[in-house]
């Protein structure tokens, strides 16, 4: 890293009182990362879960509090941003207090405050970001803004204490479908992503179409277990050769067409078969791309993350494929697959070690990109 550059940024901090992210020099970083335990209070409010957690050294979870709003949004058939944001305001202090209480710690025992600042619903993100900044302002503890998807990936560090980069990670959730090559702690290369709908979004839409309701993921998963995955031949989306990108909107349309045609012919539709066949099409594409990417990158460690990672069929298929090839397969337990703050605490820890610090002007960034974000704290232009 360029020392001149880092000095310049530090000086700007003193003059302005505020700065987005500043950089510590390598010596300070090394001194910090060695002997002392780092205890992080993490806050997550990017979608419909208000969550707070206390995590030690990025791997040990002392508490992990999640206040879910799923029941609230079920009435509306999906997450309503305004309702979610209002609920976050009501719950945020309770979650933070519960997380500290369960960890048997007070704010004074905390070393760093980490918070999700994107991507997600802007109104929802702002609640967590405002709370975290206020806590950091009063206590003087450093603040670290965390990328939500990086959090999901880091859930694997909590689940398996031995996992170390590099590894290939498939991230699939309601808002995201990414194939990420994790080069090192905090260094991510996106090698494939969805061109249209996220995998979880396709699950939600299909669930609604066949009358299963919200949340779609677990409901399709359950219905699929009762159905025949080979009953209907839905298309596997092919994007251009040599690309690891996904596309799920064609598959979603195929399911809707199938349902329409059946209805026009007056035929009874077997919902379980539709669910099973749709799910198999999704799982096939996700698995295929992940395995091809692993081969190309000569990567023998495969991890999954995100809400869709708790899909039983996907976990089973990936596990089988990894076993065939002699790869190690890592998957977080279902609690760590949903949105939670422990994973933010883990990601925040590695960001902190890399010297990332957020200023009091940290803002919510609803479409925060994953791949090129590292530029900011390496001082490259």
């Amino acid at each position: 890293m360029d020392n001149m550059n880092s000095e310049k940024i530090m000086r700007r901090t003193e003059e302005d009182g505020v700065i987005f992210m500043s950089i510590k020099n390598e010596d300070e970083k090394a001194a910090e990362s060695t002997d002392k335990d780092i205890t992080i209070l993490a806050i997550e409010s990017s979608c419909d879960e208000t969550a707070a957690a206390v995590v030690r050294n990025g791997r040990e979870v002392l508490s992990n509090i999640i206040s879910s709003q799923i029941a609230l949004h079920t009435v509306y058939g999906g997450v309503v941003p305004e309702i979610a944001s209002r609920k976050h305001v009501e719950k945020i202090n309770g979650c933070v207090k519960a997380a500290l209480c369960e960890a048997k710690l007070t704010l004074e025992d905390i070393d760093v405050i980490a918070v999700t600042y994107g991507p997600g619903l802007v109104g929802a993100l702002l609640v967590g970001v405002s709370e975290a900044k206020a806590l950091s302002f009063v206590t003087g503890k450093p603040l670290v803004g965390v990328h939500h998807i990086e959090g999901h990936i880091c859930a694997n560090y909590i689940e398996d204490k031995t996992l170390e980069p590099p590894f290939m990670c498939l991230v699939a959730s309601g808002g995201h479908s990414h194939l990420v090559y994790v080069k090192d702690y905090g260094e991510y290369d996106i090698i494939g992503q969805t061109r249209d709908d996220a995998a979880g979004e396709a699950f939600d839409k299909v669930a609604r179409a066949i009358g299963l309701g919200y949340p779609g993921g677990p409901k399709v998963d359950a219905a699929a277990r009762e159905g025949n995955p080979d009953a209907i031949a839905f298309p596997r989306a092919k994007t251009t050769e040599k690309s690891y990108d996904f596309s799920f909107s064609g598959l979603k349309s195929a399911v809707l067409n199938y349902l329409n045609q059946a209805e026009m012919r007056g035929e009874e539709v077997n919902r379980n078969d539709v669910a099973a066949s749709f799910q198999k099409a999704v799982v096939d594409v996700l698995t295929e791309h992940t395995m091809e990417a692993a081969a190309e990158y000569r990567c023998k460690k495969i991890a999954i993350a995100g809400g869709v990672a708790s899909n039983t069929s996907l976990r089973k298929r990936l596990e089988e494929e990894c076993e065939k090839r002699g790869y190690s397969f890592y998957r977080p337990s279902p609690t760590l697959c949903t949105d939670n703050a422990a994973m933010i605490g883990s990601a925040g820890y590695y960001e902190y070690l890399k010297g990332a610090r957020s200023g009091m002007n940290l803002n919510a960034v609803p479409n925060l990109p994953l791949g090129n974000r590292e530029r900011r704290y390496h001082g490259r232009s």
Binding site: N93, V127, E131, K133, A134, F137, V138, N361
Partner: protein, 414 residues
């Protein structure tokens, strides 16, 4: 008492620190930068500039809504975090009350308006009423009286409301530039548009009002607090409309976030427009045919030569009284207490306050009439220093009764 106050409900991001009647610092920015990026850096600046030790803060005051939904949440979540980390109480002040408080001492009606979109404004109507602690003092102080508590309403409705009050009005808030032409067309009263230093939210006014709240013990639980949006979310509105068969639905007005009378079970305050129905019912139950109607009460309460007070017991109006100044003579026009709340000294407390407030609007003596048979009331008036000065035989009907005329002259003992 030291207060850290913040308001992000509208276009202005504003922070202030006050200590009793001293403004230590105030910082406002109205520019195209999000409140989220401004609020904490502004606080940090203030903290550094005045070497503020956060431990010395007694309470965090926040604008409790209405306002921009996102703005309110940034302010609230920040205030909640501050209260949690500092372990200090939160004071929630209704946004429009704090805006009106900038006009402390004004003789005009004050009407802040915030643009609420969909041809509506968040608005309320306020006046300042002069008072004296004691007649011997020269000092006058003011209490802010809410004529119309804050709510979301159409520009037409608020204009009509202001026309009914019939007095010159001060207009402020970000709704004014939006609806100025419409107001010019609708208003039949004179209006005043105020300059830049007093036409938007200011954290110093919020802090000043919060100081009074804190003194009265009106704090809220920071952990469970949530702002007063005055409107349901669109999804909730649509669901409610669906359920009600497209019937018009109004935002939940039941919980207006005001908790009064925490310290004492009886809370004496000014009569507000929302109290009119309850007050008229008490009048009717007490006085039957002689009771004033809602219209009469509202008309009387909004004049500037009257003081109307109500007694609130556990959130319900339990009594009312009023006085009108007729060239220095205060005519006590109404005194009634609901049947279930009698025998608790409510009338005595209400009237004591009414006499003080009456003096403040220039009443040198007071007079009232009472039924000869109403022994309880006569005892009370005599206890308050009223003297029987005459009788109107057979004045009251059904049952027939004499009217006893009482006077409390300024030479009688207090």
């Amino acid at each position: 008492m030291k207060i850290l106050a913040l308001d992000t409900s509208g276009l202005v991001c504003t922070v202030a620190v006050t200590e009793d009647d001293r403004l230590l610092s105030e910082f406002s920015i109205q520019h195209k930068i999000t409140h989220s990026e401004l609020l904490l850096p502004m606080m940090e600046q203030i903290k550094n500039r005045i070497s503020l030790d956060l431990n010395t803060i007694d309470a965090v005051a926040v604008s409790a809504g209405p306002g921009s939904f996102t703005g309110l949440r940034i302010g609230c979540a920040t205030a909640k975090g501050l209260c949690l980390a500092m372990n200090k109480p939160m004071v929630a002040v209704p946004t429009l009350d704090a805006m009106a408080y900038q006009f402390y001492g004004s003789e005009y009606v004050i009407c802040p308006m915030m643009d609420a979109r969909r041809n509506q404004v968040y608005t309320g109507v306020y006046i300042f009423v002069p008072e004296k602690e004691n007649e011997k003092h020269r000092e006058i102080f003011f209490s802010m009286k809410t004529i119309k508590a804050q709510s979301a309403m159409s520009v037409n409705d608020i204009a009509e409301e202001l026309n009914n009050i019939g007095k010159t009005v001060i207009l402020l808030g970000d709704g004014i530039p939006v609806y100025r032409d419409k107001l010019e067309e609708l208003l039949k009263v004179n209006y005043i548009l105020v300059p830049a230093h007093m036409n938007r939210q200011r954290a110093s006014a919020l802090a000043a009002l919060a100081t009074i709240y804190l003194r009265e013990g009106k704090t809220v639980d920071a952990d469970s607090f949530s702002p007063e949006y005055l409107r349901a979310s669109q999804a909730e509105r649509e669901a409610a409309e669906k359920a009600a068969g497209k019937k018009e639905t109004k935002a939940d007005s039941g919980k207006n976030g005001r908790k009064s009378g925490i310290a004492s079970p009886i809370y004496i305050r000014d009569l507000k427009a929302e109290d009119i129905t309850a007050a008229a019912e008490i009048e009717k139950a007490c006085l039957g045919a002689e009771a004033w109607t809602e219209k009469q009460l509202l008309e009387a309460a909004t004049r500037d030569d009257t003081v109307y007070l109500v007694a609130e017991v556990s959130g319900e109006v339990a009594g009312l009284c009023g006085v009108r100044n007729i060239s220095g003579e205060g005519e006590v026009t109404n005194v009634s207490v609901s049947e279930s709340s009698r025998g608790k000294g409510i009338a005595f407390e209400m009237l004591s306050k009414l006499l003080l407030r009456g003096k403040a609007i220039g009443c040198e003596s007071f007079t009232l009439e009472v039924r000869g048979e109403n022994k309880a009331a006569r005892g009370l008036y005599e206890k308050l220093g009223f003297v029987n000065e005459g009788t109107r035989p057979g004045f009251y009907e059904s049952p027939k009764d004499d009217a006893i005329i009482y006077w409390k002259r300024n030479n009688t003992n207090d």
